[in-house]
């Protein structure tokens, strides 16, 4: 993957992981143009911080993490307005019968709740519920212990349940599956 100590083989990185980075950015930022712009910024960070990566086992985990951080920063700066949240809800409803609905709904729910979460809970929820990492993988991506990850996920579930309950008071939840 690398051709010197601190310079990545950009072609190899892009051709192998560009799609994953783009998809991650697309999930957060919604449009291809925004995702493409973010993807380029992510790869600039990848090049400038490549020394930090060396020795880690999974480039995908590393790139996913950089992309997630970048997009969360973009969203924080953007402070999505009510119209965007409304558009998201409409989109969710419109795709109710599409294949992969469960994953889609879960991902949409996480996105809707991002603004209500702290940065650490945001990351944990994204890696676990959107990327569908297992807990070990998510803990590595968050650079935290398993108990800490679980604590963050439980916090996310708590917020998510409050949100869902607000929308449908008849909902009843069992134990948190974390």
């Amino acid at each position: 993957m690398d051709n010197s100590d601190d310079r990545p083989d950009l072609r190899a990185l892009y051709e192998r992981y560009g799609h994953s980075v783009f998809r991650r950015c697309r999930y957060f930022l919604r449009t291809d143009d925004d995702a493409r712009d973010a993807m380029h910024e992510v790869f600039l960070k990848v090049v400038s911080s490549y020394g930090d990566f060396r020795g880690q086992a999974s480039p995908l985990t590393w790139l996913t993490r950089i992309a997630t951080h970048h997009c969360l920063n973009v969203l924080r700066g953007r402070k999505a307005g009510w119209h965007e949240r409304y558009a998201q809800v409409v989109e969710v409803g419109a795709q109710w019968n599409e294949p992969g609905q469960a994953s889609f709904e879960r991902a949409e729910l996480v996105r809707r709740l991002l603004a209500r979460l702290g940065r650490e809970e945001q990351e944990a929820a994204i890696y676990y519920f959107v990327d569908e990492m297992n807990q070990d993988e998510a803990a590595r991506a968050c650079d935290c212990s398993l108990p800490t990850l679980r604590k963050r996920l439980r916090r996310f579930i708590e917020v998510a349940r409050k949100e869902l309950k607000r929308e449908d008071a008849t909902l009843v939840f069992g134990e948190a599956p974390i």
Partner: protein, 235 residues
């Protein structure tokens, strides 16, 4: 596959991009062999990646990457009359591209010249023989290989020769530490139609530019010198 099975979705993605080995690889392969739906999912991931690369090829990505990486440049060289230069310069967006993107190369010499069409849309690398038009804006980049000195010469459709790089001076420019880089200007094509020729000249010694011009004009091969030509049809 449901969320957070023994083979996580993220592990599948890692498998699809080929970064698993050892026990993880064996576990995923065993799961794929036992579950056609899982195998189809991996295939879908790979297809999506291939489609992405077809839509967003590395060449396009790299040009934009270099543009974002480049510092703001201070000078321009234009093929426009002076009156247009100031207005055009304010609109120019300097792009930096690298020769590994569709460059013309001299076999065995390690040198190359890349010409890209830049403007409002995505930059497009041009192969020798490409059609261009008056007003098109070009960015050029070089791969000097082991050569330490370089120059860029242009010959327009009317046979007029210009030294575009270095700007001023009597001899070839010493290249920066990096053997690959972009020339520190962009070019806007004037109205002279015909064949535009770009000649990148690489040398081990700082030869006089007059001598280089003469050699380019006569197609003469100088010792210790390597040249790359890109011709464009301006219509």
């Amino acid at each position: 596959m449901s969320t957070h099975d023994a083979i996580s979705s993220f592990m599948l993605e890692r498998y699809a991009v080929g970064e698993l080995d050892g026990a993880d690889l064996a576990a995923v392969e065993a799961a794929l062999a036992a579950d056609p739906a899982l195998a189809a999912r991996v295939e879908s991931m790979r297809s999506a990646r291939q489609q992405f690369l077809a839509d967003e090829p590395y060449a396009t990505f790299r040009i934009e990457h270099e543009r974002r990486r480049a510092p703001v440049k201070k000078r321009f060289s234009l093929w426009l009359p002076t009156g247009f230069a100031a207005a055009a310069a304010t609109a120019l967006l300097l792009l930096f591209i690298v020769p590994e993107v569709d460059s013309e190369r001299v076999k065995g010499s390690g040198v190359g010249l890349t010409v890209a069409l830049v403007g409002s849309g995505a930059p497009k690398a041009l192969a020798s023989g490409a059609v261009v038009h008056p007003g098109d804006r070009l960015q050029l980049a070089y791969d000097a290989g082991d050569y330490r000195y370089l120059a860029l010469i242009g010959i327009d459709g009317g046979g007029v020769m210009n030294v575009y790089y270095p700007e001023g001076g009597e001899v070839m420019a010493r290249r920066p530490a990096e053997s690959r880089g972009a020339f520190p200007f962009s070019l806007t094509l004037d109205a002279t139609l015909g064949t535009e020729t770009m000649v990148a000249v690489f040398a081990e010694q700082p030869l006089p530019l007059k001598r280089i011009e003469e050699a380019v004009r006569k197609n003469e091969v100088l010792p210790g010198v390597s040249t790359v030509r890109v011709t464009l049809d301006k219509e």
